[in-house]
């Protein structure tokens, strides 16, 4: 097997994640799908790191994780405050820029 | 380096605008006095400009030049020629009267009204417009001109949309709707014109590499800059369109009646007597100066448009039922004369057109401000609501009549001189157009006298029977304007002396010579 297969897998996961973002309405699930996409990217980075034989890809993947962590923190905080005001975690309910 | 007089002339009202706006709400009358003081100071500076200007000297004088945006060759360049000086003087003279006439126009409405009227804002905006107009007359860099030409729209928009006549037949809500319609229409028309001009300005930069009038003229003269005919014509059209909207020329005129109808009389004067002059002034300076070949190429069409403006504006003025709208259409007719004079490409035409700009400013101010005093007394703009005012307010009626007579270009008053020069200038080159344009003077008499007859004469209507005559403040506004009208009608030499050399330059820009009289030519 060639490690390129990891890339295929990453692409597949990314696509599934993206589709999930588009389909699901629950903001938390949407966030999970975003995480899935990020993870798919990370897989690709790690694979590239292997393909090229240097660690830069892994460093980038590491940074991605950090950013993802930050994003999750802020995103979830937003979800919580949204839920507090609208009593709903649906992204469709927040279709106006005002309450 | 000498004192930057031109910058100071424009900067004073700009600073004054800021200062006026900063006056606390409780001291609104202080804001009025401050604005008046600033406008008088500007007038003083304008007089200094007038005195320092040497008609026989270089084309552009009192020049200032600083590099501004180096990467795009934009320079902060100011300079005035005779035409500019005349218009600067006009602006500086009119603004104090506008402020004085609008003394109570922005006072808070009586209690019970929901509308909030920021007095300081009104006067600050007027001063801001003055500053921008002045710098537009002074700029010799296309880019600088463009910026202030466009920026003018903002204060004007608020002046039109924010302050209307005190009383309104259809109630305050309807008035507000109509006002905002007028303001938006004004803004959109001028913005479209401005954007097209922006494209042309960029095009000019691409072709010429800088924005300086003088540098471009030099480059053309020594052959280092050659504009392809097609390019020049497109650029010309871009510039001309914006100026024609501003001027306004038929069929781009419909914003003016709305804007003048809805704004207070002083703002209406500001629009037609001051701001619109930038359009015609820019035709002379930029269209003819930058694109002489294209100007000659477009002359026939423009003359026909101007002719249509003259006759059409006058005919529509006859058909109006609203005093302010009537004056607006009359102004459209007069702007037709100005454009015609500019593009007749004769010394008489262009001198006449410049003189016309000055005279039209004064005469429209006189007529419109008196009309504004009248309207504020009765609370209606409809001609049919008046009658017999002459009997109760003879001074008001008399000044109104003089304003009207100036509008119909009665000899002895200033507009006659300019109108006749424009007609002669056009006639020498295009007799048919000149003759048709002369019909305009008959129509002018018709709409003015009908207006006077219906409002001022006849039996006194009960609604106007208690109307007070002009107050001291109002007389102070109108009397100097009338004196100016008569003085410039009898002795226009001071203005023509300043204007003539500038026109000579413009004529050489477009490489045109006056036609010779037949008898001389035969010899």
């Amino acid at each position: 097997m060639n490690p390129v297969n990891y890339l295929y897998l990453a692409a597949l996961l990314f696509t599934i994640g993206a589709t999930g973002v588009l389909i699901r309405r629950n903001a938390i699930v949407v966030f999970m799908c975003v995480e899935l996409m990020l993870n798919a990217c990370n897989l690709a980075f790690v694979t590239f790191s292997r393909l090229h034989g240097n660690l830069d890809g892994q460093v980038i993947a590491f940074f991605t994780m950090v950013v993802a962590a930050a994003e999750v923190v802020v995103g979830l905080a937003i979800i919580v405050s949204l839920f507090r005001t609208r009593h709903s975690a649906s992204v469709d309910d927040a279709s106006l820029m005002k309450l | 380096m000498s004192f930057p007089l031109l910058t100071a002339t424009a900067a004073l009202p700009a600073l004054g605008a800021v200062a006026t706006a900063a006056v606390p709400a409780a001291r609104r009358s202080a804001a009025k006095w401050l604005a008046l003081l600033v406008s008088l100071g500007t007038l003083a500076l304008a007089i200094v400009v007038l005195v320092r200007f040497d008609p026989g000297g270089a084309r552009y004088q009192l020049t200032e030049s600083h590099s501004w945006i180096r990467d795009f060759g934009v320079r902060y360049e100011l300079g005035v020629d005779g035409i500019g000086v005349a218009l600067i003087a006009l602006t500086a003279v009119l603004i104090p009267f506008i402020i004085l006439a609008g003394w109570h126009d922005a006072d808070p409405l009586e209690t019970g009204s929901r509308r909030w009227r920021p007095t300081q804002g009104f006067f600050a905006l007027i001063l801001a417009v003055e500053a921008m107009v002045l710098i537009s007359f002074e700029a010799t860099d296309v880019f600088v001109f463009y910026i202030f030409f466009e920026a003018m729209l903002i204060p004007m928009y608020f002046l039109i949309g924010g302050f209307g006549d005190r009383a309104h037949a259809q109630g305050e809500e309807a008035a507000a709707t109509q006002r905002s319609y007028a303001a938006v229409k004004f803004l959109l028309y001028n913005l479209v014109g401005g954007l097209i001009m922006l494209a042309a300005v960029i095009g000019l930069y691409v072709v010429a590499g800088n924005f300086s009038l003088q540098q471009i003229a030099e480059a053309r003269a020594n052959g280092s800059l050659h504009m392809a005919t097609g390019t020049e014509r497109w650029l010309f059209l871009g510039f001309f369109f914006a100026f024609a909207v501003k001027a306004p020329l038929w069929p781009l005129h419909t914003w003016l009646p709305n804007a003048m109808q809805e704004s207070t009389a002083p703002v209406a004067v500001l629009i037609t007597a001051v701001v619109d002059k930038v359009g015609t002034f820019a035709m002379l300076r930029f269209c003819l100066g930058l694109f002489p070949e294209a100007s000659r190429w477009a002359t026939p069409v423009i003359l026909v448009l101007a002719l249509i403006s003259i006759v059409y504006g006058a005919l529509l003025a006859v058909g109006q039922r609203d005093i302010k709208r009537l004056v607006a259409y009359a102004s459209i007719s007069h702007f037709g004369f100005i454009v015609m004079g500019i593009f007749a490409m004769t010394s008489q035409g262009q001198s006449g057109a410049t003189l016309y700009m000055v005279n039209h400013g004064i005469s429209t101010a006189a007529l419109m401000l008196v009309a504004g005093f009248l309207i504020s007394r009765r609370g209606s703009r409809l001609i049919a609501d008046y009658g017999g005012v002459q009997k109760v307010a003879p001074v008001l009626a008399g000044t109104f009549l003089i304003g009207g007579l100036a509008t119909l270009s009665l000899p002895g008053l200033a507009p006659f001189v300019s109108e006749f020069l424009v007609l002669v200038g056009t006639f020498t080159r295009y007799p048919v157009i000149g003759i048709i344009a002369t019909f305009g003077i008959v129509l002018a008499a018709l709409y003015t006298l009908v207006l006077y007859q219906r409002t001022m004469t006849g039996p006194v209507r009960p609604e106007v029977s208690k109307m007070p005559d002009l107050r001291v403040r109002e007389v102070l506004v109108v009397a100097p304007l009338i004196v100016l009208l008569i003085f410039l009608g009898v002795y226009p030499k001071p203005v023509t002396n300043i204007v003539n050399p500038a026109v000579k330059h413009t004529m050489s820009d477009v490489q045109k010579k006056d036609p010779k009289p037949e008898v001389e030519a035969a010899k």
Partner: protein
Amino acid sequence: MSAQLAAYTTSTGEAFQFWVLGTVAVIGALCTVFMRKAVHSALSLAGTMIVLAVFYLANGAYFLGVVQIVVYTGAIMMLFLFVVMLVGVTAADSLKETIRGQRLLALLCGVGFGVLLLAGIANASLKDFAGTGQANANGNVEGLAALIFTKYVFAFEITGALLITAAVGAMVLTHRERTERARTQRELAEQRVREGKHVPPLPAPGVYARHNAVDIAGLLPDGTPSELTVSRTLRERGQIRDVSTQAINDLRALEQRSEDRLERTPIEPETFKRPEEASK
């Protein structure tokens, strides 16, 4: 794994592992998307992430593999679950689409994008690979550290700033400033009396005969549930269980049984339904 420069294939073991765990990962991902309950989605995602961690390890990213499990699966996913709990664990998401054409477009885009991506990868000639042996010669963590603290040091510092900002941001977003003093119990009681609506304490939830869970509304004398008895949060989430019909039906069943035993004819054969349910 050898340290050879160019390789074309990996070991058979890794291939086996890839196909098995890859399948698991894809199934996990699909479950994440299509599970109705957020908790299930979160668990599926956690599964996928663990699989990915294994793949990282297989690819020579030992540090990342561990981090993935500890930080990602361990911390972040737990944060997710925490929020899910906060927001409502049982709130099942309706998968019914409300925006017209959204699902079709999403699938179209997804499939199209996926196909393109796969095609792109297939198009790229990535036949040989270097392997991480050389790079990991001094240890993977050391290698990463060397990169992070030299070449990527600025990025690293910025991530620090980012994390702090995120933490502060989260606090700002979730923190509710108390704009007025919290009212004391006495004041609340006084207010209650003044309003005169519920002077005594609110009724307790639960039908004491059978249920005493907090999410079950107490029954009024006529057998209808009273929402007042349930906590406001549950009410707003719509998580009230209605057992009124169940209780009545149970009672009916009991009666039925006694009827049977006593060999009496049944009075009413059908089970009782609440009027609104019957109309459905």
